[in-house]
C-alpha cells in the first residue's frame, strides 16, 4: 500500500520570482531560504508522486463553470499559463504527472463522495508553478495538480476542505501501490489582491492560523467560517489548501519554517513542513 510521506505548505505568490525587489531584502531572503528547506525535505522524503493543491486565479476556471475541487488526469501538464499569454519572468515548462495515481483518486472519489471535476489538459498558473519551480527546480518529481476554488464565492467550506483532505489520506493509504506520496499545499496566508484592503496583512489571523496548523489542531481550522476568513482579506480564502493538508495529516503537528508579513508583497508569507 502507498505511504503518505511528507506534507509541505507554502505561500505561492509570484513576486518571489517576478519582482522580489518589492519586498524587504531580509524577508525575501528568509522566504527563499524557506523554499530551500522545503526542497530539501522533499528530496529526503523521496516521494514517487506528489499531490500539489492550489487555487487558481481565474486562468482555467471562470464563473461560467466553477468547480469546488478538480484534479488533473494526464501524464504531464504545463505552466505557468501566464507565460503563454504575455511576457512573464517564469518560463513555461512541462511537468511530469502520474496518470495511474490521478485516475485512482478520481475513480475512488467519484464512488465515495468526492466528486472531482476532471481536467485532462491543463496549463496551470503561478499558484502551482511558483512552488514547483522553487521546490523542484530540476523537475524530478511527478506532480498531480489538485484545484480548490478560492477565487469566487461560494467556495467549499473549511469543513469540507478538511474532510476532503482526510479522504485523500485515507485513499492514499488504500492505494494498492508500493509508492511514497507527498502533498504540497500552496496559497495564502492573509492578503487582498484587487480589493479595498489590498496592502493590509492580518497578522493576528495568520498567527492564530499557524498556531493551530502547527499544533495539529486541524479541527479548529475546519471550524473557521467564510466570514472569519474573508475578514482577514479577500484572497485569504487560499488557506483552504492548507486546511486540506491539515485534514490529510489530521492531528499531526507541523514545523513552522517561516512567517513574514512582507508588505511589498502585500501578503503574509508562510511555510511549514509536516513529517
Amino acid at each position: 500500500m502507498a505511504t503518505l510521506c511528507l506534507g509541505l505548505a507554502t505561500s505561492h505568490l509570484a513576486h518571489i520570482i517576478n519582482t522580489p525587489e518589492l519586498g524587504d531584502p531580509k524577508q525575501v531572503a528568509i522566504f527563499n531560504a524557506g523554499y530551500e528547506r522545503l526542497a530539501t525535505a522533499l528530496e529526503r522524503a523521496k516521494p514517487d508522486v506528489t499531490l500539489i493543491i492550489s487555487s487558481e486565479h481565474l486562468n482555467t476556471f471562470f464563473i461560467d463553470n466553477m468547480p469546488a475541487f478538480a484534479i488533473g488526469m494526464f501524464e504531464a501538464f504545463g505552466g505557468p499559463i501566464e507565460a503563454k499569454l504575455r511576457a512573464y519572468p517564469l518560463p513555461y515548462r512541462r511537468v511530469p504527472s502520474d496518470l495511474a495515481f490521478s485516475t485512482y483518486l478520481i475513480e475512488r472519489g467519484l464512488d465515495e463522495g468526492v466528486d472531482w471535476a476532471v481536467i485532462e489538459n491543463w496549463d496551470v498558473d503561478h499558484g502551482f508553478m511558483v512552488p514547483i519551480v522553487k521546490i523542484d527546480a530540476a523537475g524530478r518529481y511527478p506532480m498531480v495538480p489538485v484545484y480548490v476554488n478560492c477565487a469566487s464565492a461560494p467556495m467549499p467550506s473549511p469543513r469540507r476542505c478538511y474532510a476532503v483532505g482526510q479522504w485523500l489520506a485515507d485513499a492514499i493509504a488504500r492505494w494498492d501501490a508500493d509508492k511514497r506520496v507527498a502533498i504540497i499545499a500552496t496559497g495564502g496566508l492573509s492578503h487582498s489582491v484587487g480589493s479595498m484592503q489590498m496592502g493590509w496583512i492580518d497578522q493576528e489571523f495568520d498567527q492564530r492560523f499557524l498556531d493551530d496548523f502547527c499544533a495539529g489542531r486541524g479541527e479548529a481550522l475546519a471550524r473557521l467560517t467564510d466570514d472569519q476568513i474573508n475578514a482577514a482579506g479577500s484572497s485569504t480564502g487560499e488557506v483552504r489548501s492548507w486546511i486540506m493538508l491539515a485534514g490529510a495529516f489530521a492531528g499531526r503537528s507541523a514545523e513552522k519554517v517561516m512567517y513574514e508579513a512582507i508588505q511589498g508583497f502585500d501578503t503574509g508569507c508562510a511555510q511549514c513542513i509536516i513529517r
Binding site: H57, I63, S152, G194, S195, M196, M198, G199, S235
Partner: protein
C-alpha cells in the same frame, strides 16, 4: 465572446460585468482596447451602473457591483498602471 453569444446571455446579476471584464482582460489587444472601452463594452448588455463604473475606472464601485477582486486588479494593470501601485490608488479613493 461574439455578438450572438453576448445577446443570448442570461446569468447571475454579477455575471455580465465579470464576463465583459474578463473578455477585455484576456483579449490579445486588451492594452490597446482600453483606450476606447465604450466601444468594446457597447456590445455587452451591462446595466448603467456597471457600464459607468467600467468607463470611469471606479474600482470601488466595481467591487460593490460584484466584480471579482482578481479581475479588478487585472483591469487596473491593463490600463498600464504598475500593479504595486494599486493599494495606494485604492486607499486614496476610499
Amino acid at each position: 465572446m461574439d455578438e450572438t453569444t453576448v445577446s443570448s446571455v442570461t446569468g447571475s446579476p454579477r455575471y455580465m460585468l465579470n464576463r465583459a471584464t474578463m473578455d477585455l482582460c484576456r483579449h490579445p489587444e486588451g492594452r490597446k482596447l482600453v483606450a476606447d472601452k465604450a466601444a468594446f463594452f457597447a456590445n455587452y448588455p451591462l446595466d448603467d451602473a456597471a457600464r459607468q463604473a467600467l468607463l470611469e475606472q471606479d474600482y470601488a464601485q466595481l467591487l460593490e457591483l460584484g466584480l471579482l477582486p482578481n479581475l479588478v486588479y487585472r483591469l487596473y494593470a491593463l490600463h498600464g498602471m504598475k500593479p504595486e501601485s494599486f493599494a495606494k490608488v485604492i486607499a486614496g479613493r476610499s
